[in-house]
């Protein structure tokens, strides 16, 4: 009984037409763009988080000392670091690592011991961070050849750039979501306006507002859901086949890509679009109905 009534309620709305296509297409296109913007936001968010975190949480200590005192000073510095609050790990770079760092200037075939190259200690801070000024004082007292570089020179611009990037990503996502909402709302309104005769005929033969609104709401919500799902699927395929989606540098440079649970976020786009369509159609239907007696 109820099913047959619902089936008929669906039939009272004309099956198609340009406004229907418009709703489908607008939902699909906007979902597609939203997936891209989401990918951008999340990728840049990851990047921003990594830069912000890693840069803020790592420091380098450079120990310049006569060859014979070097290892002693390195050990002294490491001991100090072990007892420093806010340091998670600290370790001296191996010869190979230092060689790799210096290769651009001295060539790969450099023999480190022929040079008075300073030793480098990599310090990783924990979540609370350490107090660089205090550490500097302790190092100056006990390890005269040590210089602490807490990367603040590099950090400031990169952290601000990274957070700008994240802001940009979310701004575009919100922007596209807003455009989608507006487009779906307008398409629903246009479709209702195109169906003004249907609505007035139904009202005149004794249909209640709820029946009429329901018929349109269901139609548009489903249409938006279908459109947005198609757009989302296409968008995810496009992101997946984005060149360099795996390597993190490439991902950063091409700006896109999902990782881990982020793959779930685009799945939220169709239900949200459908919700917008539901609310928009309900409002539009109510408004249209109120002009009729």
């Amino acid at each position: 009984m109820l099913a047959s009534r619902d089936r008929h309620a669906d039939r009272v709305v004309p099956p198609s037409g340009f406004t229907a296509q418009l709703t489908l297409f607008a939902a699909a296109a906007m979902a597609f763009l939203a997936v891209f913007a989401l990918a951008l936001s999340l990728a840049s968010g990851r990047l921003a988080a990594r830069w912000g975190d890693e840069l803020a949480r790592s420091a380098t200590i450079r120990i310049t000392a006569p060859q014979d005192q070097q290892s002693a000073q390195v050990e002294a510095a490491l001991r100090i670091l072990e007892t420093t609050k806010g340091v998670r790990t600290a370790r001296a770079l191996t010869d190979a690592e230092q060689q790799a760092l210096l290769a651009p200037w001295f060539g790969a075939d450099l023999a480190l011991d022929t040079l008075p190259v300073p030793r480098l200690i990599e310090v990783i801070e924990d979540a609370d961070g350490m107090d660089p000024a205090g550490l500097r004082l302790r190092l100056a007292a006990e390890v005269p050849g040590a210089v602490l570089d807490d990367h603040s020179r590099w950090r400031a611009p990169l952290v601000s750039a990274a957070s700008r990037l994240r802001t940009l990503g979310w701004t575009s996502t919100l922007l596209i979501a807003a455009v989608m909402a507006a487009m779906v709302t307008l398409a629903a309104n246009a479709a209702l306006a195109a169906n003004a005769q249907v609505i007035s005929v139904l009202r005149l033969v004794g249909a209640t507002d709820a029946y009429i609104a329901q018929a349109f709401i269901r139609r548009f919500t489903i249409r938006t859901l279908i459109g947005a799902s198609a757009g989302m699927a296409l968008g995810m395929v496009a992101v997946l086949f984005m060149p360099g989606g795996n390597d993190e540098t490439a991902t950063f440079l091409t700006g896109l890509g999902f990782q881990g649970w982020h793959w779930i976020t685009p799945l939220l786009v169709p239900p949200l679009a459908a919700l917008v369509a539901f609310l928009a159609t309900r409002m539009a239907a109510r408004r249209t109905l109120e002009t009729l007696t």
């Binding site: 009984m1 047959s4 009534r5 008929h8 309620a9 039939r11 009272v12 004309p14 099956p15 005769q197 249907v198 007035s200 005929v201 139904l202 009202r203 005149l204 033969v205 004794g206 249909a207 209640t208 507002d209 709820a210 029946y211 109905l289 007696t293």
Partner: protein
């Protein structure tokens, strides 16, 4: 059924209808005439709650229209069958489904499967056109479909606005017979028409009263017809 007490109506300019007092009792048969633009359609719209009077009291089924909410008006529409002067349909559904539409929207879809609807379509001569879409109908066929749609619910009141404006004499007799039949079953009928010969022909078959709108008021036209 429908009671107007000192009702006036205005579309915004001057008053179109003034001081109308009228009672459509259960089982009565009324004709409504008057020159074009006198307000016949307006009066009908008042009677099915599409317009509310600008002053006076209008009671539909013993309820004041001003106190009715939208769902109550929808309920009243199910008890009042209306043939509109410019009959409109759902253009994407075939004629038969359009005629059954009042049943569907008021949860009586199962009745649409019974034979009543076929009988009715046969009576108004639309059996052949049952599967056509409304835009493919001729002017007279549309009016007949509208009449069929108005009476499919066997409503307590039938309001018909120029139901025979586009059909020939024989067909208009046939349509009137349907209304007379319903009236004999106790339904209240109000027919707006400017076709005086139709009124005359009907008066011989049923106790019909003729109302005339002139100078914004309603009068009972009597023996002068």
């Amino acid at each position: 059924m429908i009671e107007l007490e000192n009702v006036a109506y205005s579309y915004g300019g001057g008053e179109l209808l003034s001081d109308i007092s009228l009672k459509l009792a259960a089982g009565s048969f009324h004709f409504l005439t008057g020159p074009s633009g006198a307000g016949k359609t307006t009066l009908m719209k008042l009677c099915y709650g599409a317009l509310s009077p600008t002053s006076g009291t209008l009671r539909l089924f013993d309820k004041d229209v001003h106190t009715l909410d939208r769902d109550e008006i929808a309920q009243i529409r199910r008890r009042v069958g209306v043939v509109h002067q410019d009959c409109q349909f759902l253009d994407h559904l075939p004629v038969k489904e359009n005629i059954a539409l009042p049943l569907h929207v008021s949860d009586r879809s199962n009745e649409a499967e019974t034979g009543d609807i076929d009988d009715l379509m046969h009576w108004v001569g639309l059996t052949d056109r049952a599967a056509a879409l409304p835009p493919e109908l001729s002017g007279g066929e549309r009016q007949r479909a509208a009449l069929a749609r108005a009476v499919i619910m066997s409503p307590d009141v039938v309001l018909a606005d120029e139901p025979t404006g586009n059909v020939d004499w024989d067909m208009s007799q046939r349509l009137l017979r349907l209304l007379i039949e319903l009236n004999r079953m106790g339904k209240t009928v109000l027919v707006a028409t400017h076709d005086l010969s139709l009124i005359r022909a009907t008066k011989s078959q049923v106790q019909a009263r003729v109302l005339r709108i002139a100078n914004r008021r309603i009068q009972l036209a009597g023996a002068d017809l």
